[in-house]
């Protein structure tokens, strides 16, 4: 029997990036806010200080900062005809856990989506005709535009001290930046990070091939920075332990280093850690959320009543919680009806490993940060004419040298034995002169009718609730896209003077054991039409107006960029809508 706690104005489920943003904005508006986080509190000096954070085995191989599948996991199958089986150990993505969420251990690659990404269906249909899009592709427009989001992208970038080179300021193309990006209102708050040898060579070769390379926008500070909340970050020291790891010296933009210290000074905010929300409660009409139920580490059930519920628990958990709480119509891929679970996507990643002459090239691959590197955007989105190629979508590609950690970084030329003296020698000979980007080809995955999330009929979590079931496979469109992009990418390494370039195309079927970023998107998407979306353009549930759902679960399809910048911009946009519109007149904001 759940014990009832005193009511709050707002309850926030999950204290990651969007949970922290929403908590700050709503506490700042004077509301009484509580955030409930499944995982533990984490902070720099006590949880990942520089004197033990750089432990590859512990954090990268054994995933210590991540969710334990034992606590909860998902089931997976490629096709509807198969039975889904549990993901017993993480592979193709790594769900976060704990205060700060994925924001603690991300690479800090901070991008904006293209203007065309937000009106993708309209844009591609206009340019190529409806027949150009493959059968079963279910891409949609988002219900808002890049221009709507621009001020919020800016806000997040200034919160984080994003280090980058602007390419388009108010319509004027700026040399050295990304010429394809949407117009931004002002430059980045910090200059780009310094580049090491590898990315510098890549940029030179790319330029010579006629591309316009630019430094990847980075949430790791190029210099000390104080953000608008007064919180300070230190300069990145290129330690090469970024993605998977906590940053030990306050140089990576995370909720801990940008928001939480200022948020905790607000007496109207509190957080509960190690407490898992098991259900969003709704009243008899099912049109109003009354709060949440959560379980603490003693197994006690509690009810937290609230006037406003923000679901910010990471993509699949958002979808699962909506399904388990009976909010919104579950998606049925056969009938092609319902919305909760539809348009689920990931990313289409591939890599190229290049071997250079050890007598002439020394890369020091361990001198790295999560987002240093140079990229080109010529093959992203609809930045090029897809007509001759028979696919849509694309991605950025770059020599993003995120690390040289030895367990993961033992590239050897193809044909080398996998063990023994020859292997050992090849590892030794090639470590300093091989190049394997941490992020190489970062391609989009568009949405399809048969790629979705629902509840598993067989497997349960430790509370006896059904696990979320992922049905996902690659479609020809993404495979073609990836082959095209990978070939272009490899050509740049060839031009750099590599003696051998090894391409690893992304191939179907989608393999849940092979890591491909944790950019899971969709399942509770935003849009203009309640019959094909779960949320309106303000991330407000069509069904339950006092529920807002933040995160990449809102993306109708994924683009060719890391999602965090867009996830955060949407959160600021939604927070503004709540502050300016909803609080003055609670109820459905859009009449559709």
């Amino acid at each position: 029997m759940a014990r009832k706690l005193p009511a709050k104005d707002v309850v926030i489920i999950g204290l990651g990036w969007t949970g922290s943003i929403m908590a700050y904005e709503l506490a700042d508006a004077g509301l009484d806010v509580v955030a409930i986080e499944r995982g533990p509190w984490r902070n720099t000096a006590t949880d990942y200080p520089p004197n033990y954070a750089a432990d590859e085995l512990r954090y990268r191989i054994r995933h210590e900062l991540f969710l334990r599948p034992e606590q909860t996991t998902f089931t997976f199958r490629n096709k509807m005809a198969e039975s889904a089986l549990p993901i017993r150990s993480w592979g193709s993505f790594m769900p976060p856990n704990g205060v700060g969420g994925g924001g603690v251990h991300w690479n800090a690659e901070t991008w904006r989506f293209l203007p065309s990404d937000f009106v993708l269906k309209t844009h591609l249909t206009e340019r190529y005709g409806a027949d150009f899009l493959p059968d079963g592709m279910t891409i949609q427009d988002w219900g808002l535009t890049y221009d709507d989001l621009e001020p919020h992208y800016d806000r997040f970038e200034y919160l984080c001290g994003t280090s980058g080179q602007a390419g388009n300021i108010k319509g004027k193309i700026v040399d050295g930046g990304n010429p394809f990006e949407g117009p931004r209102s002002r430059p980045y708050p910090n200059p780009p990070q310094d580049q090491t040898f590898g990315p510098t060579l890549f940029a030179k070769a790319a330029r010579e091939l006629g591309y316009k390379p630019f430094p990847q926008p980075s949430g790791n500070m190029s210099r000390a920075y104080q953000n608008p909340l007064g919180v300070r970050l230190g300069p990145c020291t290129y330690c090469g332990f970024c993605e998977w790891f906590g940053c030990g010296n306050y140089a990576k933009a995370t909720p801990q280093t940008t928001i939480l210290p200022a948020l905790l000074r607000k007496s109207n905010f509190s957080a509960r850690d190690n407490s898992e929300v098991t259900r969003i409660n709704v009243d008899a009409s099912r049109k109003r959320a009354t709060g949440v139920t959560f379980v603490d580490t003693d197994g006690n059930e509690w009810e937290q009543p609230a006037e406003l519920v923000i679901l910010s628990a990471f993509t699949i958990f958002n979808v699962q919680l909506l399904l388990l709480s009976g909010i919104g119509k579950p998606y049925d891929p056969v009938a092609n009806s319902g919305v909760i679970g539809r348009n689920f996507t990931h990313q289409t990643i591939s890599d190229v490993t290049s071997f250079f002459d050890p007598a002439k090239f020394v890369f020091n691959p361990f001198i790295a940060s999560g987002a240093i590197g140079t990229c080109i955007d010529e093959f992203n989105g609809d930045n090029f004419d897809h007509g001759p190629h028979g696919f849509v979508g694309g991605g950025y590609m770059g020599q993003i040298q995120t690390n040289g950690r030895p367990i993961e970084t033992t590239p050897v030329p193809p044909g080398t034995p996998r063990w023994g003296a020859k292997w050992k020698k090849a590892v030794k000979d090639n470590y300093q002169s091989a190049m394997k980007p941490g992020t190489g080809v970062h391609g989009s995955m568009y949405s399809y009718r048969d790629v979705y999330v629902d509840l598993d009929p067989t497997y349960k979590d430790r509370f006896g609730r059904p696990l979320a079931r992922i049905t996902m496979d690659f479609h020809d469109n993404e495979i073609k896209q990836n082959a095209f992009l990978t070939d272009k990418f490899a050509a740049i390494f060839q031009a750099m003077g590599a003696k051998q370039v090894v391409k690893e195309y992304r191939k179907a079927p989608y393999d849940v054991t092979k890591y491909q970023t944790t950019h899971l998107c969709g399942g509770a998407i935003m849009g203009s039409d309640p019959s094909t979306s779960a949320l309106n353009r303000y991330l407000q549930s069509w069904d339950v107006p006092n529920l807002f759902v933040t995160g990449a679960s809102a993306f109708p399809q994924n683009a060719g960029y890391n999602p965090t910048g867009t996830v955060a911009a949407l959160a600021y946009w939604a927070a503004d809508a709540i502050r300016d519109k909803y609080l003055k007149n609670p109820g459905q904001l859009i009449n559709a």
Binding site: N43, P49, V231, P261, L264
Partner: protein
């Protein structure tokens, strides 16, 4: 520190007004008293951290002679000071006398508060009268025999106490005088920062040159050739107001001073304190003997590997985030207690509204042994800390066991 809403002030002041007390019309006295109570940091002793009952006492105060527990100074008539007259309150604060005529121990810093005026103390009283009365009977005296005999304080008072209000130095500016008053009076900075004799009295000829208490070293804060010689007035003012500046961060006991007291003062007042303090010159620290070169070399290796990613390879750190080891006064303090404590256990610096970050030093005690900690502390103190004395392995061993016994 709670701000009593106006209406509560009226009711409380009316309800508990007793003999010779500020009437309900004296808003300005009450507000002035609140400000002075912050400046004098009454809450840091008389309020248990996190308590819902400010000034209700009960907080243990560690002294070199044993523990005292701060009494309840809410207006509760039986267990607080509700029944005290203004004269009695004034005698306690400015003369170190209890209501029954007995003597207070100088953990209550009356030798400093004596510099406040009668009106100052009356205003503080007016403010305290607005606090919610809390029932909390406190047994103050936990000192061991023989210091628990209060009458022994008669000798101490004779040696170390001179009742004396602050008198302006007419050769100095009004700002300097305001600062001097605040530092020597309610701020009672010397209570922590001035070295003490074996009887616990101030060595006034060495005012503000550093003292160790409760496991922390309050460093030398003199200028001239003293530890703050290179700090500007602004550096000092910003440090007091926000807990951080380009050189240093307030941590440990100073964290509390900043959050409860100096950050609550006006910009003009902290600047005044800084103007005064910058005018207090101290001598250069005695140059210590050069460290053993093997110890120094080991310390340098550890520093480069473990410390430089925050404090930078030249020790200068990052302004307002990682202290500049050449200019942070605790680094070069003769007593390495703070240096060792911070290395062994880590330390969280203070968060204030203007500087909310609260950068925190990680702990190294689990990772480095006594010889290694002695080496790195020696290296830092010699190279960055202006030739401050080396630290030995035995020093570290003692520090470890003292810290293990500590609860704060």
């Amino acid at each position: 520190m709670r701000k009593a809403p106006v209406i509560a002030v009226l009711i409380a002041a009316g309800a508990s007004a007793g003999p010779g007390r500020a009437g309900p019309q004296d808003f300005s006295s009450i507000e002035r008293g609140r400000y002075l109570a912050n400046a004098a940091d009454c809450g840091s002793c008389h309020t248990v951290p996190g308590s819902d009952h400010p000034f209700s006492g009960g907080r243990p105060i560690e002294t070199p002679f044993g523990t005292l527990v701060a009494p309840n100074i809410t207006p509760d008539r039986e267990t607080g000071i509700g029944d005290w007259t203004d004269d009695q309150f004034d005698a306690a604060v400015r003369h170190g006398r209890a209501r029954n005529g007995g003597r207070l121990y100088p953990a209550m810093p009356f030798p400093y508060y004596t510099r406040m005026s009668r009106k100052d103390v009356a205003d503080i009283r007016a403010y305290l009268d607005t606090i919610e009365p809390a029932r909390n009977a406190v047994r103050v005296n936990r000192l061991p025999f023989p210091v628990n005999i209060r009458s022994s304080m008669a000798v101490w008072d004779e040696l170390y106490f001179k009742p004396d209000e602050y008198h302006a130095d007419t050769s100095k500016s009004a700002e300097w005088n305001r600062g001097a008053y605040l530092v020597q009076g309610p701020g009672h900075c010397g209570a922590c920062h001035t070295p003490k004799s074996w009887l616990g009295g101030d060595k006034t000829s060495e005012a503000l040159r550093g003292y160790t208490l409760q496991g922390w070293t309050a460093p030398d804060i003199t200028s001239g050739k003293g530890a703050l010689g290179n700090w500007s007035v602004d550096d000092l003012a910003i440090y007091l107001k926000t807990g951080h500046n380009r050189n240093a961060a307030a941590a440990g006991l100073m964290s509390e001073v900043v959050s409860l007291s100096t950050s609550q003062m006006t910009d003009a007042d902290v600047k005044a304190m800084a103007v005064y303090l910058k005018d207090v010159s101290g001598p250069a620290a005695e140059a210590a003997a050069s460290p053993d070169k093997n110890v120094w070399a080991a310390g340098k290796a550890i520093y480069q590997d473990l410390c430089s990613s925050c404090h930078t390879s030249d020790g200068k750190g990052v302004a307002n985030l990682f202290p500049n080891l050449s200019e942070a006064a605790t680094v070069s303090a003769k007593d390495p207690a703070t240096v060792l404590r911070v290395i062994l256990q880590g330390a969280q610096s203070v968060a204030t509204d203007r500087e909310p970050t609260g950068p925190t030093m990680p702990a190294f005690g689990w990772q480095l042994n006594d010889a290694q900690i002695a080496a790195v502390a020696t290296y830092v103190r010699s190279d960055f800390g202006k030739n401050a004395p080396s630290v030995s392995e035995a020093d570290v061993r003692k520090a470890r066991s003292k810290l293990a016994a500590r609860t704060n």
